[in-house]
Structure formats: structure tokens, C-alpha cells
Amino acid sequence: MTATDDQFSEFSATRRLILKGAIVVTLTGLGNFSFGAVPALAAANDKWPEEAFKQKGQADAIKALYGKTAEASDKVKLDAPEIAENGAVVPVSVTTTLADVTSISFLVADNPNALAASYNIPPGTIPSVANRLKMAKTSSVTAIVEAAGKLYSATKEVKVTVGGCGG
């Protein structure tokens, strides 16, 4: 084999590698695409409420999400720690004895965007949710329960020693 031959074969090897890479990229790209279509269908009956999540203040977020205001109720039980050592992981849960619950939402008043999470409760699902939220600083946490078309809320102050939203 001469030197030129060697160079040639090296060249074509690289070419082949590049081509292979291109094929792999296209395949994974296609894979992601078809994958995305499946859950989109599952969630198609209820769109993600973008406007409500964009609102900065708590009152605005509730208004954007439900279009009405909530009244405090002792039938909504909000469970959150008094002091959260790590604002990045604050366990918060809510249960209620109200009937015909259709939706439960969590709001953190002093976060950059107040609305943290909103859950649709179809008939047959028990109105009780536990999750973990991020808190930028000490703030009140509010749970909103929509039952029979009305809004009920419970609020609790949570002290945060290390914030979970900034760098």
C-alpha cells in the first residue's frame, strides 16, 4: 500500500462515520417526534393553563386560572412544615372533606410566579394530593380547592432558611 492509498481509506472511513452519525441523529429526531404525540393526545382534553402560570401575584394567578376569588374554609386541610430548611424541596399536601371537588391548586405567594401546581380531580378521584414545591423565601402557601363551582382556600406560613429559586 502506498501512502496515498492509506490516506484515501482513512478519508472514506471518516466519511462513513459522519454519514452514520447523520443517520443516527435523524432516527433519534424522528423517535422523539412520534413519542411526543402520545401524551399530547392523553392531555388534549385539558390544555396547560399558560396564562395562569405566567402571573406574578397570587390574586392574579387565581383569577387567570379560575376567574373568581376564593374564600377561606376550615374544610380544606393544608399540611406544610412550619420551617423548611431547604426551600428547593418543601413537602406540601392538602386534603378536604368538601364534596364534588373538581380541582386543587397550590400557590406560593412570594415566588416569582405564584402558581406552583394545579391538579384536575375527575369524579371518582379522592380530593387529596401530596407533592413537593420550591420556595424562593419565607412565604405563605395557599391551597385552593374548587368544589361544586366554588373556590375554597387554606393558607399557611412557611419559613424558609435556604431559598430554592435563586443562585
Binding site: S93, A117, N120, V129, N131
Partner: protein, 103 residues
Amino acid sequence: MASTIRVRATATGDTTEVQALIQHPMDSGFVKDAKGNLIPPHFIQQLAFECDGKTVFLADWGTAVSKDPYIKFSFKGGNKGDDLKISWVDNKGASDTTTAKIQ
């Protein structure tokens, strides 16, 4: 790739309790990396649980849900051995789906 979703669904009497853990960065868009650049938001927007062809729970999440989110809820119905389908989609269009058997 292993699924990002870990689920435990247990039926007791006529109710089924579901606990799920999902692996996801849940970047809020407010945090800076080591070089001081903002990490763009990357978070799960919707999470759906389906049992027997019916949606039993639908979550709309914002950036304030913790990294590697955990969720617990219960629903009436669901028998041992039934399939529970879980799927999520994030703000970049990525998604994952898994099916778990109710225990």
C-alpha cells in the same frame, strides 16, 4: 433508556393509592450555572394518569415544583393487576410514558 417514571400503585378495598417519582431537572429559569449564565426553564407541564381508558388524575405543573417531582393521590376503583398508564410532557416537547400494574 430506562423509564424516568417510577410508580407504585396499591389497591386496598375500593381505592387505589398511587405514588410516583419522576426524574426531571425541573429548571425554573431563575437559577444561574457556575459561569453566571441563566439556566433556561425546563420543566414538566402536564402529567396524566390513566386507568381503564379513563383519566384519573391530571397535573398541570409550573416551575415551582421540585426537581425529581413526587406526587401522591388516590382514586376509587382500580383492581389488582389493572394497568395504570402514566405520561408526562415538558415545555421543550420531550415526554415519557410508562405503564404500571396495580398491586
